[in-house]
Subunit: 628 residues, 2 copies
């Protein structure tokens, strides 16, 4: 058995980058490209005009070229007559100004007399309608400095300044080597034992964004000599080489040993979470970086370590937009690491609110859904709810400003709404939604809360939590809740009484969720002992999580909505109808986002799309009910 | 003679766009592209996961697969022994979880006993080190909504969700037809009568930025039938057609008539300056836009009218970043137009300052140098100095924050400094620089002000304008000022006395500039009558403007620096040495930008580069002198 690696270091990221750059001593190279292909490239040297624009004195109008002295005193009453060839010549826009002439009269002001003679009834001043040499650009003038990313508006000036070729930084070639015997290139594989290589595609995209040229190869199996050979070959073809994964400390994590054998490891293990098991190495003066395998870790590690090196080569500036937001939920963190957390963002009552998104380092979707990455610095134990947090944006800020923030219960109609307008939704359960509304951290809170005494939904809860009034409900959908069970309902589950039978593993929803309240209502009505339910304490946050637990065989049954069951090919046993509504402040009903939201709920398109999911009614969707 | 067109309209831009969109009824089209090529494209429909990720329950570690029940009670003291094949099987990361097993123990925690047996001394819990089906992505889950620009981080999730092809908006083809008999494609032409087509290159760049596919053709001569034929052909190959120029109201401005003949003109003439002579037309249901010819007008008109139509097709969101700045100089505007002004921006003392850049609609360079476009709304007569102005950024904001703002006298070393660090420089003359420093609108003010009583430079002025003290001078360069005259000095100009000879046309610098003060000092010393100097009242803002006026034959002589004369191949007659220094607040010497500025002035590279220009000394460059 190979010995296990240990992380040598726990170095701060900023320090690691300084050390790495210092050892690498990158010398970026330049190349000459035709002007037409220079858009988006970065100048390696300043560009100076090779000619003036215009490069000769030229007519700025169609008309006649005259000596201004000859026109002195011309008026309506006393027009001046001029003779072609002697006193004037016809010119078109762009024609050169002939020696001895100094003024252009536009054709509309010229009265033709025939016989090669014209009359004018207004004097013209010297240099009238003449574009002078260098009026726009003077030869030798600097058009754009070095280290400047060429924009569309620069292209016109460069052409006018006589530039045909331009010296820009060469695009660094970034080799991407995916490793792992289970990793395959195909996105559609359904073979057990094969995992799609999704990271390489993300790396290639990031490389392009930062001005590099990605070069992907097929996944390499976990065989030491094979991997070593591949790395050795790819290093020679690349300026920067990424190896993914195998950078951790497991027995088959060969990256470190191979880099050590072929070159040197500068840093292994960095005080950033996620992203710790990163290797910064050098082989034959090339940067070789081992990135961790989990998608979120690999993204963070790429941004932290590969990006700055890549920008050193490409000359691009790609500072992420950084904003300050108010954190809506406490985050914990270790003193030993800088911690980077995914957050959703939204502007509510003029304040930018950041809500942490749950999910481990493997949760690609949490990264896709995130609006930004919040930073908890090292030597800080966490950030309190209501305190400020620095966030690097993953989306343009104006998009975040236009987004409806929804915090509360989860339902699949949120996906449909999210496709019809910009919605940022966090799933905290119904009571979590009510709390977020009280703290004014969301625009709407989707809730479905059963009053166990009246059997009525939502209204009594709103009255209880907002005794001061001012609240309304926007009616959403009516949906069926029931038992999600494997196809064919093999354990014949029909009522809550079955849950305590002893041969059944149940999965529950989190406390505060409407589904949990519904379950507990039925359990107490039927007199079932929760102690007797195996899995009562195992909590999940969404209907899909419940369905997935049943699908994977981790549980026999869970409570949820029909659509979640059918989406995964499971069966469904109806328990009760319920009302899924959106809580809002009555005051906010006139806000643009809320108005649009109501309009969408009322639209035929929304109703049509919901009708495609089983178990829903939309009769009252978009109706506004003032509660108190 | 053809009749002159008249502008029909003076419509507000927002209204013009609404009318145009309403008539156009754009139906954007979509196409399917492979995932690898989808980066930066915009989804036409929401994308739902086709498979779960992982799509089977899999080992998350290399190790052994066990039944958790079998491991109950295992401890250091009482290890549990397991038999291969019966109690466990070896698994690698990614291997499927076999029926009946429910837990993975990592290989590092397994003690091999030989004989197909292993010992473990810790119990394992159910689902330990197992990645469940759908842990990352659940089949049917929405990965990204419609109208979403695909980012690098989306690519990974899409691959993991089994997506190989993706439905995106088709890139609209934008045909670009340059017109004008004087317009040629070559950037290097030195033929009089030929003007380089620089706008097409800029349009092509903008089209790419907004998600379109540019299609340029060679310039078309001003011939009605020829142009009509080209437009008719190109319309069929394009989704949007741009015609540049000929959109104005001159006799050879055929665009409007041709569009009317082939289709319809929706709007001609819009209440925006620059950009008024724009034509919004439709031919065979295609958008056909006539843009004005001057570079700044054509850029503004493209941004205002072509961009929104293009984005309708491409689905991209490209809102310009808009900021509020404090205007440092009053701007005038007509009530009848919205006025868009080029501004340079800089953050001084924490305030964002916008300084208008001078230059007509032809001045491409003013657009290249601008940091943003300031908006003076219609029905406003202008904006006062010190008031707020809305500015659309032309550069990333972080770049603007990193920029040293220099307002004052012009010198060619500013180009060198601007290449060595980010400098935004406005040329207002030395006294203008002092005023900007008093108003705290710039970091440094380059000045060269001669005290006529002492012959000393700068110091007495600083003492006079800043009686409260706290000011320092960063020494810049010593430079020779003199007469800029045509090659060979044909009019034999040797002293200021020659300027009033009668046969000489002079060009002057603006009042408040150091060069003007130097001139007036010598004029009064020699007793020359300024009334007798032809051109004494004609003022230009920079040394290069003066040199260019001499070069183009508009003047016989002007006062300026040697480098400006030599850059244009002119001659130079020395008059005096002077000191070009940078005024700063002593307090600000420790600020990052100022420190960097001083460091550059002191650097060998700066001195070497200045030495290449004739007429300069850099002995004291970067020295700091506290004045008061």
């Amino acid at each position: 058995m190979k010995k296990r690696n240990v992380y040598i270091d726990n170095i701060e990221d900023e320090l690691a980058i300084i050390m790495y750059r210092d050892r690498l001593r990158i010398e970026s190279q330049s190349e000459s490209v035709p002007l037409e292909e220079s858009h988006g490239r970065v100048t390696a040297v300043a560009v100076y005009a090779k000619k003036s624009s215009p490069h000769y004195n030229s007519a700025a109008m169609d008309g006649i070229l005259v000596r201004s002295k000859d026109t002195e005193g011309a008026s309506e009453v006393r027009p001046v007559e001029l003779k072609e060839g002697e006193d004037f010549v016809y010119v078109n826009t762009g024609n050169p100004i002939l020696e001895g002439f100094d003024s252009v009269i536009m054709i509309e002001d010229v009265i033709e007399c025939g016989d090669g003679r014209v009359k004018i009834n207004k004097s013209s001043h010297p240099w009238q309608y003449i574009r002078n040499i260098g009026e726009d650009i003077v030869v030798t003038e600097m058009i754009i400095p070095s280290n400047h990313e060429i924009r569309a508006i620069d292209l016109g000036a460069l052409a006018a300044g006589g530039i045909e070729e331009i010296e820009v930084y060469k695009k660094p070639v970034v080799g991407i080597v995916p490793t792992g015997s289970e990793i395959v290139k195909s996105a559609t594989t359904d073979i057990e034992g094969e995992i799609t290589d999704s990271n390489s595609l993300m790396f290639a995209g990031l490389v392009r964004e930062y001005g590099g040229e990605p070069h992907r190869i097929d996944p390499v199996r976990d065989e030491y000599e094979l991997l070593k050979e591949k790395i050795s070959t790819e290093v020679d073809r690349s300026d920067i080489l990424i190896i993914n994964a195998g950078s951790s400390a497991g027995t088959k994590d060969y990256t470190k040993s191979i880099i050590e054998e072929l070159g040197e490891v500068v840093v292994h293990g960095i005080a950033v979470k996620p992203g710790k098991p990163t290797i910064l190495g050098i082989i034959r003066n090339k940067a070789v970086v081992g990135l961790p395998g989990y998608p979120v870790s690999s993204y963070i590690a790429f941004e932290t370590f590969v990006k700055p090196i890549l920008l050193d080569y490409s000359g691009k500036r790609k500072k992420p937009s950084q904003v300050e937001a108010i954190l809506s939920k406490r985050v914990y963190s270790s003193l030993k690491h800088k911690e980077l957390i995914r957050v959703s963002l939204g502007v509510v009552n003029g304040k930018l609110i950041a809500t942490p998104i749950s999910g481990g380092a493997g949760a690609t979707m949490s990264l896709v859904k995130a609006d930004g990455i919040g930073i908890v610095p090292r030597e800080v134990e966490g950030i309190e709810s209501g305190d400020k947090i620095s966030v690097q944006l993953l989306k343009p800020y104006d998009e975040i400003e236009d987004t409806l923030v929804s915090i509360g219960s989860h339902d699949m109609v949120m996906d449909i709404l999210g496709d019809m307008m910009r919605v940022s939704s966090a799933h905290t359960g119904s009571l979590g939604g009510i709390i977020s509304m009280k703290k004014k951290e969301s625009h709407v809170a989707p809730i479905h809360l059963l009053d166990e005494s009246t059997g009525e939904y939502n209204i009594s809860y709103v009255k209880k939590y907002f005794p001061g009034g001012g609240m309304s409900l926007i009616k959403g959908v009516q949906r069926v809740q029931g038992f999600i069970v494997p196809k064919g309902n093999p354990k014949q589950i029909q009522s809550v009484k079955d849950l305590s039978r002893g041969d059944i593993v149940f999965v529950n929803r989190q406390r505060g969720s409407g589904t949990r309240i519904l379950l507990d209502y039925h359990i107490s009505r039927e007199g079932v002992d929760t102690e007797a339910i195996d899995g009562y304490d195992l909590e999940y946050n969404t209907h899909m999580d419940i369905a997935q637990a049943v699908k994977s065989g981790n549980a026999d049954v869970g409570l949820g909505i029909a659509s979640a069951a059918y989406a995964l090919g499971l069966d469904f046993v109806e328990l009760a109808d319920e009302e899924y509504d959106f809580l809002v402040y009555t005051d906010s009903l006139k806000e643009a986002e809320i108005e649009k939201f109501i309009e969408i709920l009322r639209s035929e398109e929304f109703k049509k799309r919901v009708a495609e999911i089983p178990g829903y009614k939309t009769d009252r969707a978009g109706e506004v009910v003032e509660v108190n």
